[in-house]
Structures are given as C-alpha cells and as structure tokens.
C-alpha cells in the first residue's frame, strides 16, 4: 500500500470555497494567530516551535526556516520586513499557485505569525505577474477579509500587534524568485540579485532587516503551531520534517499537485500520479525543478523524495517539482529546452552567466542540427563548469547542473544523437 496523501498546506479535498475566511476558520484557521494577538502566545515561543519542528524552506534551497528567522537582529529598530516569495517560476513547479488559489488564509496567517516571531511589522507578498487573473484576486480578497476581521493591520488585539501586509505583483522574470533579485524588484528595479554578504537579515528591503520565505514554507506555519513541532516532525522523515506538495508533471497519467509526507518513495508518488503514461517505461526524472540534476530511472526508483535521499543520489529535492520523462524522450532536446530557459532568464549582470548560458544553448542547438562533433561535448561540459560557482546568484549553477547531470547519465545518447544528426544533415545536403 502506498504512503497516503495528507493535507497540511492544502485544504482538505471537498472543502467548499476553501479560500474563504469562513471555510478557513472552520478548519481551525487563525486560532493560533488570535492567541498571539491576545498576548497568550509569545513571539519567542513561535520561533522555538518552528525551530524545533525542523521546517526547511520549500523554495528550493531547503534552509532551516527557524534558523533563518533567528538571523533577524533581536529588538531591531523598525521597520523590518517579512517578504513572501510567491514568484513561483522554477520550471515544473505549480504548487504555490494552488496555495494562493485555494488556501490564501493559511499563507496570511503564516506570514503574520512569522512576522510576529521576528518582530517585523510590515509584510509584502511578491506574487508573480502571470498570476494576475486568478491567484492575485484570491489573495487580495483574502487580505480584505483578514483586514476586515481585524487580523491584519495596526494595533491588533490586546497585545497591540502591528502587522501590515501588502501585495506586490511582479512582471515576468524568473530571477525574481532569487531572494535578493526579488528585493531589488520590490524596490522598483530590474531584479538583479545582490552579492551576499550583506544578507537580507542585516540589509534587505530598503536596507532594512528582512526575511524572505517561500509561500509553501509560510503556509506550513499555522499547522505547526496548532499541532506542535513533534507532530510536524513525525509527518516526515529524518531531516525532512512535514509534508511537501509535489508537482508531478510530464509523462504521467495524472499530472498534478500531490501533498505527501516528505520521504514518500518515488514509486509511491508516481503511483499517485497514475504511473508513466501510455504504458511506457520510465526513462528519467528531474526531481526538484529544472535546476536540479536529472536522475535516470534506475536511480530515482530507489529514492525517497526527501532532502537526504535525493542528495545522496546526486540530485536535490529542490521545489518538489517532479518532471517525469518516458522512454521516448530525447535527452539532447530536453537539455536544449532547459538551456534556452536559463539563457533567456539570465539577468545579464555576471559575465559567466550572461555569456555562458547563450553559448551552452547554441552548442546544444548545433548538436541537434548536425553541426557539432562529439568532441563538442567536452567543450559543453567545460563551459558549464566555468559558469558553476562563478556568479553572484545560483542561476549560473542552475544552468550548469543540468548539463553536467545529463552528460553524466546520458552521454552515450548525446554522442549517438550528434552522429545521427550529422549523418542526416549530410544526406540532406547530398
């Protein structure tokens, strides 16, 4: 029997209009926040609980959330900021959109609790611009409801808590998902990541102490405080507490968002998604969004979907975006499509990424068009290696890792494809 699905960040199935305050309250929503507003739940207790819960950031890097919060200078002068990263754009990832659409109050309550824990009085939710039609209005409506109910604003409750929460809508740039690129964008600039140090906790939005957390991370927080750190820990596997909304896409029968305990086996997850489509065989999986290394079937089949297991297998949990590829997939074409994405989305400031991502894409194009030799694979790898670790933000790494992992696992297929493309081209020109 496969591991069952659970709902921590997502509302229970069948809930009516789960995005409404009424529905969220019925499910126990805002109970924790109201305790904080009444003065019964102290900021330090929230921080301790989140630390103890083992919650890690769901945006891709998996950094321990409580530890990140503790970097905010204690008792710092206001304003300091909490920023939610709803700029969901890692290819293959589509769960934050569903949190915004179906459970926006969990996010608002999570943000309020997080801000309170860190002493931040102002929050911004940075939502990607493409979400303008449905997720943004849902979030705004929830914000209005929360505001009308006295849950956000100034001088709230007996504890006279200040928490002002504002929406911010992006305008189309993958790099704004990087936290310092996001802060630049929030300041009204192109989203070019900042060099760290200083880290946002020292100098973030407008030079003030700032913490940026991902949507799903924050949406976990009310449940953790309601049910306790131990409950959350027990949901997942060691080092991987709680649940993850896995966005399963690609060659499966039932693509979708599946919230399951961390540590669910890949095979169980694939089964929830109906297995590989059309009765075909599994070839490869990118387990955490397009930036993480690809794993061939025989390796991913042995993996549990958590931080440690995927790291041991040479990849990463990333955003939990599980991209499934069947036996018919051309890995050279997949890699070129991924390379085109990083080429288009590089912000342009660092030399290796600005110049190198286009070079990778052009080489891969030549390989598919019969204008490359097998020796070009070494050049491809060398250029990827020269980008990796040499840029301000991780986009350079994200452009390099797919190249490295595709070549590591599928090099013979690349060589064969190069040869056949050359042969086809010669025939066409004959």
């Amino acid at each position: 029997m496969s591991m069952p699905l659970v709902n921590v960040c997502m509302p229970p199935p069948g809930a009516e209009q789960p995005w409404r305050l009424e529905s969220y309250s019925k499910r126990g929503g805002y109970r924790v926040w109201k305790r904080a507003l009444s003065g019964k739940l102290k900021a330090a207790k929230i921080l301790d609980t989140v630390k103890a819960s083992g919650l890690r950031g769901r945006g891709g890097a998996g950094f321990p959330t409580g530890l990140k919060w503790s970097f905010m200078p204690a008792g710092c002068k206001q304003p300091s900021y909490l920023v939610c990263n709803s700029d969901e754009s890692e290819p293959g990832t589509c769960h934050d959109r569903d949190i915004l659409r179906y459970n926006p109050h969990a996010l608002i309550e999570g943000m309020a609790l997080a801000a309170y824990a860190m002493g931040a009085t102002v929050g911004y939710n940075y939502i990607r611009g493409e979400f303008l039609d449905e997720p943004v209005p849902r979030f705004l409506a929830a914000l209005d409801e929360a505001s009308a109910a006295g849950l956000i604003g100034r001088g709230l409750g007996r504890a006279r808590v200040d928490f002002e929460l504002h929406p911010f809508v992006g305008a189309g740039a993958y790099i704004c998902g990087e936290e310092t690129g996001l802060l630049e964008s929030l300041e009204g600039k192109p989203g070019k990541p900042r060099f760290k140090p200083p880290f946002p906790a020292q100098s973030g939005l407008y030079g003030r102490p700032t913490t940026v957390n991902n949507t799903q991370t924050l949406a976990c927080v009310p449940s953790i405080l309601q049910n306790g750190a131990e409950w959350f820990k027990a949901l997942g596997s060691p080092n991987s507490a709680g649940t993850m909304i896995y966005s399963v896409s690609g060659h499966v029968e039932r693509p979708g968002n599946y919230e399951a305990p961390l540590g669910v086996s890949f095979n169980d997850l694939l089964e929830h998604a109906g297995g590989v489509w059309k009765g075909r065989q599994l070839k490869a999986v990118i387990p955490g969004g397009s930036s993480v290394p690809v794993l061939p079937a025989e390796i991913i089949r042995e993996c549990a979907m958590d931080y440690d297991s995927l790291a041991q297998a040479g990849s990463s949990l990333g955003t939990g975006a599980v991209i499934v590829m069947d036996e018919t997939t051309c890995m050279v074409s997949v890699l070129r499509r991924i390379a085109r994405f990083y080429y288009a989305e590089s912000c342009g400031q660092c030399t290796p990424c600005r110049e190198g991502t286009g070079w990778l894409y052009r080489m891969l194009t030549r390989m598919l068009e019969g204008r490359a030799g097998v020796a070009d694979l070494d050049l491809l790898l060398s250029v990827a290696n020269n980008i990796e670790g040499h840029t301000i933000c991780a986009l350079g790494d994200a452009a390099a890792w797919p190249v490295q992992s595709f070549l590591k696992h599928f090099r013979p297929e690349f060589e064969a494809r190069i040869r056949s493309s050359v042969a086809r081209r010669e025939v066409a020109h004959a």
Partner: protein
C-alpha cells in the same frame, strides 16, 4: 592601526586592514594585483564582472575580491589553481562576444581588457558561434559609442547615478541582450559626463572628437593644470607630433580626485581652430596684416611709448584674463608700473570695486576642497556652481548626501542634483537683504560657510554682498568661487590697480577694470581677453575708443580684427610654462605640453621682449621660475590692505535695472576664448 583592524594573509603575506574593508582595496594598497573590470575605487561595488575571483580558504567557491570584506585570520590566495582557473574562465566569457577589433579601436594600447587578455586569455578561441552585434546610441558630441565592445561592467551607469547625480545611461534588457544605452536618443548633458570615457575599461565609450586621431602609445603625456575654473584640475595633455590630441585627468585626490569637467577635457578642441594666430598682426592702412615679430614688437613698443610720451604713463591701461598665468600677470604688471601706470586688473566682469583695498588679495574658497565634504551648512549666493566649478559642485554634492544643509540664493532655482535645505530665488536687487536673512536662517553647526559665486561677484552691489559675508560671525567661513583658473594667483601676483605701487610721488592707485571699461585709457593692453566676451557688458564700445590697442592673444577675435592696432600671437595654457593658484591656494606650476603653432610664443616671452624693446630694466628672466620667485617674495611682504585712497569704481546706481543687472549669468561654455572655440563643447551646450 585603528581598533577595528584585522590581520589576514594574502599569498602568504601578513596584511592588516580595517574590518569591513574590501579585500581588493587592501591588496591594491599593498601592491598585490588582482585583475578587475567592474571595480572602481570611487564607485559602489557591483561584483558583476567576476574577474577578481580569488581563493579564500574555507569558502566553497572563489570569491570576488571587490565584495569580500577582510576578516581576522582570513587566508587568501590570488594565484592558486582555483583562483587562476576562475579568472581565466571569466576572461574567456568576456572575449567570446567582444569584437577583438583592437587595431581600429581608440582604446587599443590603453585597454584594460586587452591588457588582461594578454595575461589570462587563450591563444585560440573555443567559441565558434556568431558574435553579438549591438547598435550604438548617439550620446551627443562628446562621447563616442561602440557598444559591441561593451563588457557590461556598469561603471558608466554607476558613475551617472553616484557621481554625476543624474542617471543618463542605463542597462536595458537582460541576459546577453543587456545593453548600456540611453534607450531614447538623448545626448549626455551632465557637466562631468566625459568621465565615462575614463571609467569605461574597454573601447565602448570613447572621446568622440579625438576619435581616430592618434594611437595611445604614439603620444607623450604631459602633466598640466586646467585653466577654466578655480579648481585647477590636474590634467595630462596627450601630444603627438607637436599637437595636443586630447586631455585626460591626472589623479590628484586633494583637487579633482580622478574626475575632470567636460570643459577641461574638451576645451583643447579649440586650440587649432580657424582664427588661431600663427603670425603677429599689425594694422596698416586700416587693415590688420600679418608680419614678423621684429616689426610687430616695434609697433607695439612705439604705440605704448608714444602715448606715454604725449599723455603720461597713466594714459595706459591693461586688462588681463583671469586665466592668465601668475608669471604673465606679474610681468605685465611690472611692465605697466615701469611705464608709469597702475591701471591694471584681471577682474574683468566685475562691476563694483568699492572697498576693494580691504578685501583679501586672493579671492579663494576659504577652505580646502576636501573640507567642503565635512561642512554642516553652506550657503551659496549668486553661484551657478555646476557651471562655474563642476568639480567643486561634486564635492558639495557629496557633502549634501552625507547630511550637510546646502542652500542657494540665486536668480532662480536651478537643477541641483542633491538634497537642498533652501533654494531662495530673489531678484538681484534684493540679494543684500536676502543674504543677511538667509545666513541667519540657514547657517548652523560646526562647519559653516558662505560662498559668493560668479553672479554675486558680477553684481552691481558686489561690495555690499562681500561686506555682509565678511561681517558674519567668525565661525562662518566666507569664500568666493572666482572666475577663471587663476584669479587667486593674479591677486597674489598683485595684478590689481592698488597693489605693489612703486614708492614714487608720481604714482597713485590706478583704474580698476570697471573704470577702464567705461573710460578707456588712451593706450590699452589686452592679455588673453576678448572684450566682446570677457568683459562687463558694454566694454567693447568703450575700449574701442582707445587710441592704441595692443592685444596679446592666441586668436584674433572679431573685435580685435576691427579695433586692435597690434595683435601678438601668444600661447594657450597648454603651450606655455606657468603657474596657477586655485581656489584652495595651491600653487600649481606646469610646463608647456606642446609648442604653440607657427610664430606664436608664450606670453611671458613676448612681455620680456616687449620690455626689451621699451628699454625697461629688470626683465632679464631666463625662465618663468625666476619671475615666479620674485612675485612670491613680493606677495609675502605685501601689507594686508591696499592704500586707503584706492576705493574703486561702481556702476551708476541710478542706471536702469536692465543695465545694472546685465550680464550676471555667464554660460558654462562661454567663459574664455579656448572654451568658446571648442566646437564639441558649443554643440553640447546647444544640444
């Protein structure tokens, strides 16, 4: 070392630095070279070029030296395998889309990319894709663009935002399509914009008028000093085959840091224009004709001698450009005195000289330029600082950004580009009252100052303004932003109608510039001054009445062609040795960078020869240094105030308003003959 000092090692060497200081600043100080493109010590850290990656022990990846603060115990290797391979990787990426058109690039030979490619580049490119081509925006007459060469370091963008205070260039687009541009067709307007040429590490932004005129390695560099404002920026003149090809800044932290104004950079384009004189001119039968020096000097000496004979020495007068050198001013003063005249002045656009003998001899700022940055409050009266002294305006901007309260009293509000306390717009007739009020309202704190600028010094009641400023409480520094590059030097050289007058009963204080421009003495000597542009309004008509007019000038202006009797072709500041004293009283001597064209000669030599013709004693100087030594001795022994009888003239207070307040405003690119003849500057002014 201060308390916050930290110890760390670089390539095995023990170094000390201040905690938080960037590694590259420390290695630069110690002479350890780390390659870089985007880093510039005067600009914010961008860390985008990735050329300065070094190996820091314990760090998971190489770190940029420009953005890595030094820390206690840190161990850095700049030449380890990891550092070198990171730097080589960056160099390869920089070159793949760079055109490598070095043979036709003006930057060739002085290009940071070219230099580093020699050290870090590969012999053979591994890049076989097509190269990027980028359109070139038209940035106006001063800066040329070849944007395909751009390496996107953003120094020019940061220069605009951080130094100029107005962002004109930006980085549009993203990924490899990012472009440095104005986006819409827009010329660079800021008075310091030419500095982007120097901050650009490659040949993307270059000196437009200089384009294709020389190769960097063919030219010789001659240190000199800028003549157009009271800053006296340090310059190099680059010379090829006897001609100045371009001007670039010379670093002098105490004066201009690393910047120069566009006026100082591009005025050299006026050097060799059409009306430049290569031979002396003498009026014959009503027409100026070219002649040799013998004949011209004879005509000049005869003209002066004859008037002295007929009407006495007091019938002679001299007007000297405020950008003449100390030596030139001193020699002409000495010559006038020897001829029996004290009618000499360099304050050509000033109109009110009452009380002049009580003013300090050198009009200066009252403080060092660096001290400006730590002022608490500053009031500028009648001062178009960005136009008058752009580098000083940059210091004031820095002061304002770090909290100084800066106020202006002026005809109207201008574009200031920094936070201001007050901008008081008042008709000039109200300035005296307004100054007294504004000083009381806006000056406070440890360091405070009042500066009178060009408009105040050209004001018909200038003396009143000076007096109010001088009478402010002692803690208020009262300074002047004076015209020209050497007002302070000429003041110290005594080029004034009341200074150093021979102890001789026949001598009395002479005519000031205002008086000479209303009632011209019979014989006029004009040195570096073109009356139709360089004097107070109306002077050209009065001066034309003189019976004999001798001009010493590099060019023959229209007025001279019409009225002068002898025009002696002289050198510009680039063609003569000399000394300027700037607004913080630095004596800055310089050598000639290039020979003057044709028969033109440095004015100090011309004056020496003229004195010889006139058979005057004491002009046997074999170098300008000797004249300088004499004048400095004289300046040191001069009493603080001039004779009480030298009250000075003023404009008729009954005259109509428009006449009294005429000529207050002086456009930035009209200040002197060289600037007026620089076509690119005139085009920029018109753009």
């Amino acid at each position: 070392m201060p308390d916050n000092s930290v110890r760390f090692t670089v390539d095995g060497r023990e170094l000390e630095g201040a905690a938080g200081e960037m590694l590259i600043a420390a290695t630069d100080r110690e002479g350890i070279y780390v390659p870089r493109f985007c880093y510039h010590p005067k600009l914010s850290v961008a860390a985008n070029c990735r050329m300065c990656l070094v190996d820091v022990e314990g760090a998971p990846k190489p770190l940029p030296a420009c953005a890595t603060p030094v820390a206690e115990g840190m161990s850095v290797r700049t030449h380890s395998q990891r550092a070198i391979s990171a730097q080589r990787a960056t160099m390869e990426f920089l070159l793949i889309n760079h055109p490598l058109d070095c043979p036709v690039c003006d930057q060739g030979g002085e290009c940071e990319l070219q230099d580093l490619a020699m050290g870090f580049g590969r012999d053979i490119s591994r890049f076989s894709e097509g190269k990027r081509a980028v359109p070139d925006p038209d940035l106006g007459p001063l800066v040329s663009t070849d944007m395909t060469r751009c390496i996107h370091c953003t120094r020019c963008v940061r220069f605009g935002e951080e130094i100029a205070g107005v962002q004109e260039l930006g980085a549009t687009g993203r990924s490899e399509h990012m472009e440095i541009t104005t986006w819409v067709k827009r010329s660079l307007r800021h008075e310091l914009s030419g500095n982007v040429i120097d901050v650009c590490p490659v040949g993307a932004l270059n000196n437009k008028p200089y384009r294709f005129t020389a190769r960097a390695w063919e030219m010789t560099a001659h240190p000199t000093v800028a003549p157009h404002d009271c800053v006296g920026s340090a310059l190099y003149a680059h010379v090829l085959r006897g001609r100045v090809r371009r001007i670039v800044p010379r670093e002098n932290e105490a004066v201009n840091e690393t910047w120069i104004s566009d006026r100082d950079r591009f005025s050299c384009e006026g050097l060799y224009v059409g009306d430049r004189l290569e031979k002396p001119l003498v009026r014959r039968n009503g027409r100026l004709v070219e002649t040799g020096w013998e004949e011209a000097l004879a005509a000049a000496a005869d003209g002066l001698a004859q008037l002295r004979e007929e009407q006495g020495g007091q019938a002679l007068g001299a007007l000297v450009s405020p950008s003449a050198t100390c030596e030139e001013g001193y020699l002409l003063k000495k010559l006038m005195h020897a001829l029996g005249s004290a009618n000499i002045d360099y304050r050509l656009r000033r109109r009110d000289f009452r009380g002049q003998q009580k003013e300090p001899p050198a009009p200066w700022l009252g403080m060092r330029f660096a001290e400006v940055e730590s002022l608490d409050s500053l009031l500028m009266v009648g001062c178009d600082l960005r136009g008058e002294a752009p580098i000083l305006a940059h210091r004031v901007r820095k002061a304002a950004l770090s909290g100084a309260r800066v106020s202006y009293l002026d005809l109207a509000e201008r574009e200031y580009l920094h936070p201001i306390e007050k901008a008081i717009a008042a008709p000039p007739g109200d300035w005296a009252d307004a100054l007294a009020r504004a000083a009381a309202d806006s000056l406070s704190g440890q360091g405070c100052a009042v500066w009178l600028g060009g408009l105040a010094l050209r004001h018909p009641a200038c003396s009143e303004l000076l007096e109010i400023a001088a009478d402010l409480p002692a803690e208020v520094v009262s300074g002047r932003v004076s015209e020209g590059g050497n007002a302070a030097g000429l003041g110290l050289a005594g080029v004034l109608p009341f200074a150093d007058i021979p102890n001789d009963a026949s001598f009395s204080p002479g005519m000031d510039a205002g008086l000479m421009q209303r009632q011209a003495p019979g014989g006029m000597v004009l040195m570096g001054a073109e009356p139709e542009f360089d004097c107070a309004a109306g002077a050209e008509d009065a001066l034309a009445e003189a019976q004999f007019i001798l001009a010493l000038n590099p060019w023959a202006s229209d007025w001279m062609r019409q009225h002068a009797h002898v025009v002696l072709p002289t050198a510009t500041y680039l063609e003569t040795p000399g000394t300027f004293v700037n607004g913080q009283l630095d004596w800055q001597s310089f050598a000639a960078a290039a020979p003057p064209p044709g028969l033109a000669r440095p004015a100090w030599k011309v004056l020496r020869a003229l004195a010889g013709r006139l058979e005057l004693e004491g002009f046997g100087y074999s170098s300008p240094d000797q004249a300088l030594a004499d004048l400095r001795r004289q300046a040191d022994s001069r009493p603080d105030a001039g004779p009480a009888s030298s009250g000075g003239s003023a404009v008729d207070s009954q005259a109509a308003e428009e006449e009294r307040f005429a000529g207050l405003q002086l456009p930035m690119h009209s200040v002197d003959g060289l600037v007026r003849r620089s076509l690119p500057l005139q085009q920029a002014a018109a753009a």
